[in-house]
Amino acid sequence: MGSTSSTLAKIPNAEDLMQETGFTPAHLVRLYDRFKVLDKDKKGFLTPQDFVAIKELAMNPICDRIIGAFFTSGGETLDFPSFVRILAHFRPIDKNRPKEPTSPDPINSRSNKLKFAFQLYDQDKDGKISRHELLQVLRAMLEKQVTEEQLESIADRTIQEADLDRDDAISFEEFRKSLEKVNIDHKMSIRFLR
């Protein structure tokens, strides 16, 4: 399509991005348009304030954690390639992809999706979800619906169910195991193009 290819030309390193993330040109263009919309001041990059400005996102209980996941390593700027790389986690898994043992997992593999979810809990990046971190997330999600005691019991039970090595924290492997029955592809994918 004419408009797609002309917009595509404006995106720097489009070919590499598509190769890395698996997005089609149409997807990439759509994301580029969205990036421009979010970048109201036309800075060329996004800041956390641009994210907070999205009305519906601001109402999300884990809004700050999601924004934090975009701005990894504490930076205040997000350029387009990084934006796309994060969003690539939410592409549906390609079932027909040939499995080459030597090449790295694509960004949207089940394992990488789970790692992304894990880091939402693990704010201090020590590779484990501590009881305290779990409580914070539970508190954010359940807000005023439960008492503090109930929160603590639920957190206790959550850790008890998953914690196999009894260190009172959930490692990534334990996290992955507790979600083995869940269809992660279904739960963590978005159909990007309408």
Binding site: L31, R34, V37, L38, F51, I54, E56, L57, M59, N60, P61, I62, C63, I66, F70, L87, F90, P92, A117, L120, Y121, V137, L138, M141, L142, Q145, V146, Q150, S153, I154, R157, T158, I159, E161, A162, I170, F175, S178, L179, K181, V182, N183, H186, K187, M188, S189, I190, R191, F192, R194
Partner: protein
Amino acid sequence: TALLPIHTWNLPGSSMLNLWMPMTVTYIHLLLLLLDPSSALMSTQDPPPSLGNHSMDKNDVDEAEGHFTVPIAFRVFSVDYHHVQAPFEIVLWIMLASLAKLGFHWSGRIPAVVPESCLLIMVGLLVGGVIYGVRHTAPPVLSAEAFFLYLLPPIVLDAGYFLPGRLFFENLGTILWYAVLGTLWNVLGIGLSLYGLCQLGGWGLEEVSLLHFLLFGSLIAAVDPVAVLSVFEEIHVNEQLHILVFGESLLNDAVTVVLYKLFESFLRMPSVSGVDVLAGGCQFVVVGLGGLCVGLFFGLVAALTTRFTARAQVIAPLFVFLYSYLSYLTSEMLHFSGIMAIVTCAVTMKQYVEANVSEKSNTTIKYFLKMWSSVSETLIFIFLGVSTIQDVHMWSWPFVSSTLFLCLLWRALGVLLLTAVVNKLRRNAVTFRDQFIIAYGGLRGAICFSLVFLIEDFPKKRLFITTTIVVILFTVFVQGMTIKPLVELLDVKRKKRVLPTVSEEVHCRLLDHLLSGIEDVVGYWGQHYWKDKFEHFNTKYLKRFLIREDKQPKSSIVRLYQELERREQMGETDEGKRERSPAM
């Protein structure tokens, strides 16, 4: 469905006495023996079967004329059957149905092989046969009015109240796709091909018009919720598959209603124009949306009413039943889809009612719904069996077998084509195995049966009735019995028997929030976006208005946690507890 009742119980009152004498003469003997020591009186009062009426009437007449030949002073003991006749007979039928169901569950290995519906139909056939053998006339037929007004609503209400809401709405697009387009495809396919075959076949059916065949197609194509529920309850396929088949059977009611009435009114009109067909198409929207709105209205009113039941908790469940039934009746009165109304009503009011009423009332609601729907279902199947024994069956091998074949063929083709299209738009593709079960699980039941009786009389009506009965019996028996082994053979994904763990629930909730956030970032109005929007609206306005101040509903995480704790305290393990609805 919204159709005017024409038939009522088509038997004269007094012959019902003779009907039950063969079956319950022992029962009454025992009863009388227990109640009365004096055998002399008993023998006068217990007439032989064939003279049942006459001796009673004679005694009454004697009394009236004041002829006391032997003054036994006044009657210490007498049997006055007419006084209690109607409720007595209803209770006896229900008792028969329930005893059959009990016996079925105690009969060793049979329940594993034969679904309940088949056994009940067989009992019905037996009873019908006995009645026919004794009286040499046709046994009572399941009247359409009794079916649509009394037997169908409890089943649909139970199904709607316990519908897995989230799963249903996630798959709503696919369900509607199958329900609307699939039914249309089947109706037109079966109607037109039957017409074509009859024109060419030389089976003596050339005079039957195209409209009659289309009418027949519209009633035979629809998947029946009662039959689907009954069979699928026992095979435990994965929830997505279950909701697809079941949701389709519920929502295709709107299409069936419209098409049936459309063709029926076309039959009465001298000529049909294109405008009329278009009006029919609009009517479909009216019927569907109308049912929806009626259901929504009554659901919200019911929710509001339960807000104030704190001081009279005992009658709180009654409001649930009354409002639901009212929504069904109102919808039928307005010629909307009753099934859609009652399902919408149940789905709408459930979360608010659960929060507002006490635990005991919630349990009451649950068990009353289960009980009523179970009784209804049993009665429906027994009557299907009884009504099969008819005086006049018109049989035609080619017509019956081609109808059966075409039903299966068009359903299979329809499912294949529709799924091929819809899979492109779904996140979770419907696999070929699932598609096979969807096509194979398209069971017909009592709705077709009642609808065929309501057709206006025309020369070949009895043939249509016979064919419908054959199709229903085939789908329930053959497909119903073989679907379980097929599910195992094809290794279709089964239902998870255990509850999720709390950590699963917590993490999944996190993922929901995450995906909502990502959808917001990308600006994509997907499922999470709409779900969130509804949740916000719900929390901000609806819950405040419809739920008592002190009783805000609990999060699913909290509920799951409490349920798991409760079970552990009771000493039940997850594997031991079965999730299926109690098949009482």
